[in-house]
Symmetry: C2
Subunit: 352 residues, 2 copies
């Protein structure tokens, strides 16, 4: 199949540091190529990919030191190039929210749009209501709730390359892990409270956005004085395997409608169980009692930490491989592409 | 003529506080209506206008207390509505940068796009190069330099209603005025230095954006201890007439390619001369020796303050009325609309 993957231009594909969407586009493009498909990736020029790259910007926007830039113009220019080459693809797969909607209406039936963000924003339903033809893919069933009326083709959960993070049969560290952004919705305060109550060290590997600096200084920094609590800042992919693999458990005490929660499957790849709150996609990702525990109080979380420490880490890794490898994700997308093209052909026959 | 005006959705039309583009769209829509045209304004619902309003959002985005919103989706939904009604207009006049380019290609020859911002951003030339058909209007000749190749229909300078700011034949206050944002490019440090050297009080009426809070705290705040210097914060339209009209002169010591510089003509409406640096549009707006002095050193600015204090304020007001009223602006746009429609018809005849 000839497939175009259209990535956002904010981060490199895959990102050098933070960035979920571009990471998934990178894994998906490679995995589809490995399955034998002819994949063309539209992305910024530093992309590392086994697909054919069409570089549409010299570098990703966020880390570009040039202060005067336009993300809107950059994305429109990319989409213009995609449009110019659109006849060459069986399927065009967009990962840029809805910015392409005005440009591909006449070929919407051979596009797929994966929505990577939360969908409960004020202006979205009006816009999605006006462009009803685009086949959409959610990354969890929960994510699509605010836009039930849209044309949902299916849910495809994220996947990561099976070899990316090594399985760790026995955690070398006696600590709990927190990995993500420092922000109230990610629950770092809850994580700290849980660690203190169970008396096990907690390591927080997290970036602090400019928007969250006050929150970090006022709410989190004072909690770091405890010898049990260690803040180690943002970590890169190379360090992630050891950080997650050596943890007794990952704490994921979120307080927002998480559309997917990539870090949960990163932990599972290492064999590390997850203690998570039942927000957003969590109940769809965690198999309660197998790959982690879903809890909604600190009391329950404290009990769950002791429990998950005895879980079979090999079985967690097996669940990861069965459900959350990049290859599984790519196969799920191929099924949707085929379903889309067949229904399109069927319609064409009917109207012929 | 049946004219659509398409405003950005960031601020109210006109803005409650800061906001240049929405202010001009408000003045232009009213002035075109006063000239007898059938004007339809696409804007957020709190717009105050003599045109027919099509409210496309319940309120403007920036002051909407809802934290979860999407400016991209809001603008796309508006443009979808404009597109749905496009057949009803002779001319569609866009003030939303280039976000509409993918949606009106087939009727680009009856659209006008006024560009309100600086055009020397990294991603713009690639995007404008890909949509060459849209007739563009600059707000100064200088502004268009980075995109010389584009289809420029003309330059139309901004105008404000003649009755908005009262003429002040004699300044009641013995002070210099600075009005705008506190940011390095606007030159507040230069303004303070000039005031100290001439020994005349300076009043700074300015907003401080979140992005400029550190600059304000570190560079400007320490300079405010001088009894000559007074910081009075952001002011509204009602206070602007007295603030500018009672000043000896407006200091406009900018250090960036200002696309227009609305405050210069606001000062001129009050009869107040301007001392300005020759950046961006300044030489096109200020008539050196009549409505102000254009200088490029602090020494020259110090001399100019004494000089402009003796300028004929009535003549400054006359220049304002002749060149910078909203009615003049509206007439200039009508000429461009007519030029566009005639050339369009001519082309149609030729290709018939």
């Amino acid at each position: 199949m000839k497939i175009a993957q259209i990535a956002p231009l904010y981060e490199a594909v895959p990102p050098k540091l933070y960035g979920g969407t571009e990471r998934i586009v990178a894994y998906l493009s490679d995995a589809l190529s490995d399955l034998g498909h002819d994949v063309t990736l539209f992305a910024s020029a530093e992309a590392e990919t086994r697909a054919t790259l069409v570089p549409v910007r010299d570098q990703a926007i966020r880390l570009d030191p040039e202060p005067l830039k336009s993300d809107l113009a950059a994305h429109l220019a990319m989409l213009h190039e995609v449009r110019r080459r659109a006849h060459g693809f069986d399927v065009l797969h967009f990962h840029v929210d809805l910015i392409h909607f005005p440009m591909f209406e006449d070929i919407a039936d051979r596009t797929v749009t994966t929505l990577h963000g939360r969908l409960d924003l004020k202006d979205l339903s009006n816009a999605y209501w006006r462009w009803p033809k685009y086949p959409l893919v959610s990354i969890s069933d929960h994510q699509r709730k605010p836009l039930r009326f849209a044309r949902w083709l299916g849910t495809v959960q994220h996947g990561i390359p099976a070899s990316l993070l090594p399985f760790s049969p026995r955690p070398e560290g006696q600590y709990l892990a927190f990995l993500g952004r420092i922000s109230p919705e990610k629950g770092p305060e809850r994580a700290i409270a849980i660690a203190k109550r169970v008396g096990i060290p907690l390591k927080l590997a997290a970036k602090v956005d400019a928007a969250d600096r006050n929150y970090f200084a006022n709410e989190i920094r004072p909690l770091l004085d405890d010898p049990l609590i260690e803040f180690i800042g943002e970590i890169n992919d190379a360090d992630k395997g050891a950080f997650l693999g050596n943890a007794i458990a990952l704490l994921f005490p979120i307080d927002w409608p998480e559309p997917f929660g990539l870090v949960m499957i990163e932990a599972m790849a290492c064999g590390t169980p997850v203690v998570a709150w039942p927000c957003g996609a969590v109940p769809e990702v965690i198999e309660d009692g197998v790959t982690g525990r879903i809890v909604d109080t600190e009391d329950a979380a404290v009990a769950a930490v002791a429990e998950v420490a005895r879980f079979d880490r090999r079985r967690i890794r097996q669940v990861f491989e069965r459900r959350f490898s990049a290859e599984v994700m790519a196969n799920n997308y191929v099924s949707l592409y085929q379903q889309l093209l067949h229904s399109g052909n069927a319609e064409r026959v009917r109207t012929a």
